[in-house]
Symmetry: C2
Subunit: 301 residues, 2 copies
DNA sequence: AGAGGTTACGGGCAGCGTAAGGATC
DNA sequence: GATCCTTACGCTGCCCGTAACCTCT
């Protein structure tokens, strides 16, 4: 009698233009998808999708149905969000996270979600932005906190509060108080994120812009390692101040008032636009709130 | 995962304030209804209905859900109407019909529905208006073509074209040509609908209003019998002209140009307001069209 | 005690997954 | 011949109906 499940299957087949990919997305098999579409076509008395060899494309009737299906799925999601007790919200979310986020507000995020929605579980991958982007596109990730928008049709990017960059140096380096010029900075090695990141690029560019020879730059995908290297005096860390908090507090690092500034790091919470998934957009919303309150209250003292 | 069926069950329990009556309405059993409501309450993590002895009443969460459920069910109905091929529309409709309708446009209605929606079947009861009204209220009828609006909350009344009354007399009565006064009319017996109908009442009233003694009035619930009596010269039939067509055409009856006029008969197509039932409101729409075109084209020649 | 809802339990069937079978490039 | 979808088929699990039980008035 036309159930939600069928509309959901139809929606994904229409969106992904493929029975097989829809099956993957829905964690089911191609025959199951075939069967549901066949049943829908029986129900509505006509073809909804034209399967001509390679491409699967909507018929006029299919386009008409898609409009209705999207609306119904969206309203069901709204209904669940409106009526369901938070504790009953459940699901496994495959989450991709940049390490900066891991080191800042991710614990607060996980904690808040676990408290509000105990039935939600996570499969967390810490990774670099390009790989997360691919993961989202391939539907191996449901949600990612990554740098910059994904900017693909069919995806939603929620801007998160920016992280300003800071330079952290061990007191052992003996840098003078007060504003430090680019030249003075460049006498030391720098330690920062991997070469594949925009931050690395921006850092190089900033020195070039100042007409200063670019210093040695060590990189690591592990923030803990970057910080450790800075503490050990191997170089000056270029990171959001937030992630250096404990070391700053303990006096193992101090912030440098550098002349040069770098653009802040912009993260987004990104996920596929899916009218049938209440959970992911809800989590994105929570992430925005958590990150915002982190940015607001968790300033350095 | 919250399916339409559950929302439908919930809607009817909420509307009828009873698990048992909802079960009846949905052609299922009370335990089945109980189970679905229990599952919904599990799903949404809280009570939706308060069962306190006699009365079943919505909780705040239940009221919230009801709004969403009604909207979703309505949109599903719209979707089915928009997308479904007419031939796939199916169902059994328990239809109550006034005899006047049987004698006029019901065949055209049935014919048109059968042609457009071959999978729809009817259970037709020809009956008088008060009994049909009760039938609708008791949910023993899904749709009725009866006199005057039902006028109950939760019901929809679609006005149908009016039937003007006419007086039909056998030529054997020897009534003069031209306008006939009430007195002249009252010299003959009249034959019309049963005493329980408003028509009978209006007929009596009309004579009283003219200050004329009320003639003998024969009544019958069978229009065929009324006509037969008029043809046989037993009296003058008081009926919509439409139902006397064949006899008028054959010259067995002729229309009297009577001085007195009677209010026309007003029919409505009435049914329960149900957001989950596309079929009945669709049929009501067809009835309006058929009746209208009957009134428009099927005039006497 | 009776009306109305819940709990218990057995059976039927829808819908899934596996596996084999077309069709189209 | 490779890629996609369909068809065939056995099986599981959901949901329904029957029946017994509980709980209010």
């Amino acid at each position: 009698m036309v159930e939600f499940r069928s509309l959901e299957v139809f929606y994904w087949v229409a969106s992904l233009r493929s029975f097989g990919r829809a099956a993957e997305r829905l964690y089911t098999t191609q025959p199951a998808v075939s069967q549901r579409i066949a049943a829908l076509e029986e129900e509505f008395g006509g073809r909804l999708l034209e399967r001509s060899g390679r491409s699967t494309v909507l018929t006029p009737k299919g386009r008409l149905l898609l409009e209705h299906a999207e609306r119904l799925l969206r309203l069901r999601t709204e209904m669940i969000q409106a009526v369901a007790a938070p504790a009953t919200v459940s699901g496994l979310v495959r989450l991709g996270v940049a390490e900066t986020v891991v080191q800042t507000w991710l614990p607060a995020f996980i904690e808040r979600v676990s408290r509000a929605h105990p039935a939600v579980t996570f499969d967390i991958e810490v990774d670099v932005t390009p790989r997360m982007r691919t993961g989202l596109l391939r539907q191996e990730l449901d949600l990612a906190f990554l740098m910059g928008p994904v900017g693909e049709p069919g995806f939603v990017d929620h801007a998160l509060p920016v992280f300003p960059h800071a330079f952290g140096a061990s007191p052992a380096l003996g840098l003078p108080e007060g504003r430090i010029t680019a030249e003075a900075l460049a006498r030391h090695a720098l330690v920062t994120y991997p070469r594949s990141t925009v931050i690395y690029q921006q850092l190089q560019q900033a020195f070039r812009d100042q007409g200063v020879i670019v210093p040695r730059i060590h990189v690591s995908s592990s923030i803990a390692t970057i910080i450790r290297m800075a503490v050990d005096g191997i170089g000056i860390s270029v990171l959001p101040a937030d992630v250096m908090r404990p070391e700053l507090a303990r006096g193992e690092l101090r912030l440098i008032d550098a002349e040069m500034t770098l653009p802040p790091i912009r993260f987004t919470a990104s996920h596929r636009m899916a009218p049938d998934d209440a959970l992911v957009s809800m989590l994105a919303q929570i992430a925005i709130e958590v990150a915002r309150s982190h940015a607001g209250t968790d300033k350095l003292g």
